[in-house]
Symmetry: C2
Subunit: 678 residues, 2 copies
């Protein structure tokens, strides 16, 4: 099953790098950036709108309130460590927020450019965010030391010495996020000259000086600096940063960090990256490291490393990933379990691990040698994680979040206090902020840059990997401009209509991903000139149409999004004898609030069984739930039976990413099968 | 299902309190102590022999080596905190070791008394242990401060202030263990005057002064002082100590401790004891608190509290206890999960939680109002935990231990370094010592005093709760002496023969527990005078024979110990569609080492299924395993099938408490059923 990937260099890029988080200098597939792809509606459009307003405002308010921004002021004033607040990694939340704001400004700028000047509203918002961004950068800048060192927790009298606690101190981790924020700024407003890029450059130079060959030979306990350095090197054309990323990646697995109770696998310092066969240890660390290692492999042409990473990705997806795309089954160390150790009830499935898995999968997707042979598994996995974990974390308002994303809630939780900091994985309801609050800014930066994960281009044409109402405008390698408009109500509906807006100067290929679950999909091409439509069945993979497209041509992909049962791998003990229900890319869940008013209202939630003889079906025509969920389109109904009483009822399921939005409730993704029980 | 228990006061005790860890002043059932019950062979006899020699020597060597004993010398020398080693609770391991040595001396003394002077060997060992005990007590005494305060971690310049960290500091917890050690000393060698009782008394007086009514109103984050104070009060006839225990018990659940990430349920400070309906939070803390609360309820005649505790015990046994009797399913906080949250693969099942559950269950057993109505569930649960958790922790040599006792090992672990301190719950193999090393001395004190958990007496006669080759000599309330000799190879065999050694002056009743699994048991009475034997079927519960016994009379209980499948409660998601195999009180396990040489040798362990159509059976006549386990008697064979290949073989199972004694291996207690799999 292992995919062959290689690092065939692509033709040199035309013009500037894409306005995107990841811009390899080699590889056949070129990611299209925020200046080329815009999401115009649907679930992701709604999320981007909420994210760019309510969520960003929410995060900045809490960063101030908790003093994590104020720490930089204290550093500048020379009063630290007195008054410092937050955990050792709190600086990083500021940097992730800056990154999110930078992408959001870029998104608004692109939207304005598409509109031919922008709406007043989006322009005003961009102006406001720009001012806020600059104010925070000024505060960060004031805290940087003359030699480039930047951290509010280390290095001053009364604090730990610089680099004295690489296992837990997160200094390099924080800088990795600083670098990613600088990349976002450099790619979205390269001429803004607000100083963030300079801050990052000075810090990166220090890192290279301290940790370069012949220097300190350790790594950071929380990977992130690798991926940050690699992209900063790409963005600034600075090979030293990429080389430093390579050094860090190579150093992992050589025991440079102290052993800890959970073992060195916790920070991937147990086995060298190229020798490992699984992701293991802390799930966020593992995916960040893998992302940085993929960048290093691609930029250095290290095919052995790339193949090793691809094998790890595959094994991890097959054996260590929840049906939701979530990763990490241990609460104790936020870590992967062994193969098949995927308990639903103690699923940790940290939001940030899903963000990180999207980063890793996207880099592998881009590393593929040949679009004609492109493997859909990466985009399938990215879609799964986006819909069922990343989108599960924030609620509709964008101001409360899951840190961990359990697949089974036995006891209804309690409402989080909207004015209090919550423990990270305690409640069954989303909380506004956490003592460890990495997920709000991590989802925010992902949503703000989401358009950059939808499409790629190569010498032959354009590839669409994710479907949303959107527009694509790019220039192919042969110089011709291509513009597309995608209309779809996916994933509620399965129709994806791509309207070509440009006349081709020569034939090019449009490739559309057909997800693995979409057996029976069809593809229709409808020429603008009224010629005969061509319709054909397409297999999971990438469906391709090569054509000298004319403006007005339409390509329609019809994906069968009927509800379906999903059986677990029989080696996953925790959910043996159970079924999940999916519909398109969305996982559904049974939520106790939906039992109200049915004959199962008084049943013990643990006694409910699904009747496998009755397939899950679209809810259209069924009685709706007592409390309607947010999104009524594409709702699903299953027939449940109380194993104790024999009572039976049709019960609507809720989209997993919308669960716990209607008050405290019980929930389960995997529903036990009705069988003869003792 | 809730048992009715009450605190009917019994007749005043004749003579001294039993030589036993628990000696209620009320209650119908009087525990028989080490001076009345001796284990003479079998599995527990072997364990006691190893425990009293190799294990005690091992523990003392590690206490010295790790500096946990040396901390007391540093305290006496006034050099603390410099050089202090070990965690905040390391003092307690010294006290538990002292308790274990005291019980072992008592056991050897009783054995000597039975032999009419004792063997040279046991007498010499007792003398050696006595000298070691006194040397350690002297070192502890030197560290006690004039006002009675005793702790090597707090109270000195450079250390935290006394009682400044009740959430995590374990000061009162350590004293609780000191009190239990003093109780053991007081009851085994009351005239020895080595000072431990005085040390405990001074410390207890300080606790009462500081934490009494009107004083500091908090509790200790780790319950234990309650049960220690209660028993010290009983032993010394000091009502103030019992009252202080009552105060602490009543204070729990009122939020006197800080909230923490895992919630106040972690230290049972969420709900008052009498209002709770489940054990919850940290499993050791919960059981220690419940034990102390039971003591308080019994001594104060608080029937409401006792009923609440009994309900909690019942619900916890039914819904939050593994088939092994283990408790606690969370690694992160060593805590109970929700009802039915019992994953096999992440079972924490801490050894100390099982020790603590035996303490709690035994106290409820003793609290029963009427032997004629005695409920066997307490002794059933105690037996389950003893055989399948407490005996699982140490290996045959008694020098390596499990801290946690998983029910499913997917990946063979690595051998623990015999000269290194291990993380507590990492390896699949037992380790000699842990950074948190509570289990070695906790099992040691339990095994040394195990004879005190076998039998009780009341006005009507003698009750046997646990079966081992043993002798019982006691005086009934009516003054007549009764002596019994129990011969059995239980649990390998199901025959328990009780030979009466004394002529009765009036009829009395012998009660024998029939475990819940023992449907089809029979009881035979064979008079010494050659009269007709009386044989009858007996139901699970207590089988009773009332008779004017004559010396030579024999009562034989025949328990059907044929192997059996055990199905899980259908509400336990983690092991749905699986079966366990039990035989008598012992749980068996499939261990990968036993696949060697069979057609399943190369199977993926995750693919193995048990064929429910083929019952588990005694291994007699079958080909033995490639590497024989320690105890070949009563081995069990099941028919397994490889779900992938269809290969089939008869595979011997290993007693769960003997697993991982033949090198690293995979293991599972719950074996998935062979079913049609996709």
């Amino acid at each position: 099953m292992t995919l062959t990937v290689s690092t065939t260099p692509a033709a040199a890029r035309e013009g500037a790098a894409p306005v995107a988080p990841v811009a390899p200098t080699t590889g056949a597939l070129r990611p299209l950036g925020l200046d080329e792809v815009a999401i115009t509606g649907g679930i992701w459009g709604r999320r981007q709108a909420v994210n760019g307003t309510a969520t960003l405002d929410h995060i900045e308010r809490w960063l101030e309130r908790e003093g994590w921004l104020g720490n930089f002021d204290l550093a500048a004033a020379g009063t630290l460590p007195d008054g410092r607040r937050g955990r050792e990694f709190s600086d990083s939340e500021v940097y992730k927020y800056l990154e999110a704001v930078a992408w959001e400004i870029g998104r608004l700028d692109a939207s304005g450019a598409q509109d031919g000047g922008g709406t007043d509203a989006s322009g005003a918002r961009a102006t406001e965010l720009e001012a806020r961004f600059r104010r925070i950068v000024d505060r960060v800048a004031a805290a940087q030391e003359p030699d480039g060192y930047l951290n509010t927790r280390f290095g001053r009298p009364g604090q730990g010495a610089r680099w004295s606690d690489l296992e837990w101190g997160h200094e390099l981790y924080c800088l990795g996020h600083l670098f990613q924020a600088a990349v976002a700024r450099h790619r979205t407003r390269p001429d803004a000259d607000d100083g963030l890029v300079g801050i990052a450059r000075r810090a990166a130079d220090l890192v290279c000086a301290v940790f370069g060959e012949g220097g300190d030979e350790r790594v950071c306990g929380h990977a992130e600096v690798e991926v940050g350095l690699a992209e900063l090197g790409r963005a600034l054309g600075e090979p030293r940063y990429l080389e430093q990323a390579r050094i860090f990646v190579d150093r992992h697995g050589r025991g440079s960090l102290a052993d800890i109770e959970w073992g060195r696998s916790y920070f991937q310092d147990d086995v060298p990256v190229r020798e490992a066969d699984r992701l293991r240890g802390h799930a966020v660390r593992a995916n960040y490291l893998s992302s940085g290692a993929t960048d290093v492999a691609v930029e250095t042409g290290d095919d052995e490393l790339l193949r090793a990473l691809d094998g790890q990705w595959e094994a991890t997806q097959q054996r260590r990933t929840y049906v939701t795309g979530g990763q990490g089954s241990h609460h104790q160390d936020e870590a992967f379990g062994e193969d098949w150790e995927l308990p639903a009830d103690r699923a940790y499935s940290e939001t940030c691990a899903a963000v990180a898995s999207v980063m890793f999968g996207w880099r592998l997707l881009l590393a593929q040698a040949d679009a004609a042979q492109a493997d859909p598994r990466y985009a399938d996995a990215i879609e799964r994680a986006l819909f069922n974990v990343v989108e599960t974390s924030p609620d509709a308002s964008g101001t409360a979040f899951y840190y961990a994303n359990t697949l089974h809630q036995r006891v209804p939780g309690t409402e989080a206090d909207p004015e209090s900091v919550s423990p990270r994985a305690k409640s069954s309801l989303r909380a506004p902020w956490f003592e460890v609050s990495c997920c709000p800014p991590n989802t925010a930066r992902t949503f703000a840059s989401l358009a950059a994960y939808l499409a790629t281009a190569d010498a032959s044409g354009v590839q669409l990997h994710q479907y949303a109402p959107s527009t694509v405008r790019t220039r192919l390698d042969d110089g011709q401009e291509v513009a597309l408009e995608i209309a779809t109500d996916y994933p509620a509906g399965g129709s994806v209509r791509v309207r070509v807006l440009t006349d081709a100067s020569s034939p090019w290929t449009l490739a559309l991903r057909v997800p693995a679950w979409a057996a029976g999909a069809t593809l229709a091409v409808r020429p603008a000139d009224g010629g005969d439509a061509d319709e054909r069945a397409v297999e999971p993979g990438y469906a391709r149409v090569e054509r000298a497209f004319a403006a007005g041509d339409e390509v329609e992909l019809a994906l069968p999004v009927a509800p379906r049962f999903t059986a677990p791998d029989p080696r996953v003990d925790a959910v043996r004898g159970s079924l999940a229900v999916e519909r398109g890319p969305e996982v559904f869940a049974l939520e106790s609030v939906d039992l109200a008013g049915t004959t199962l209202e008084t049943s013990d939630f643990a006694d409910l069984r699904v009747d496998p003889a009755t397939a899950p079906r679209d809810a259209a025509g069924s009685a709706g739930p007592a409390v309607p969920p947010r999104d009524a389109d594409g709702a699903v109904v299953v027939t449940l039976v109380d194993a104790r009483t024999g009572a039976r009822a049709d019960i609507p399921l809720v989209r997993y990413h919308e669960w716990a939005e209607r008050g405290p409730s019980r929930m389960r993704v995997w529903i036990p099968l009705l069988t003869a029980e003792a």
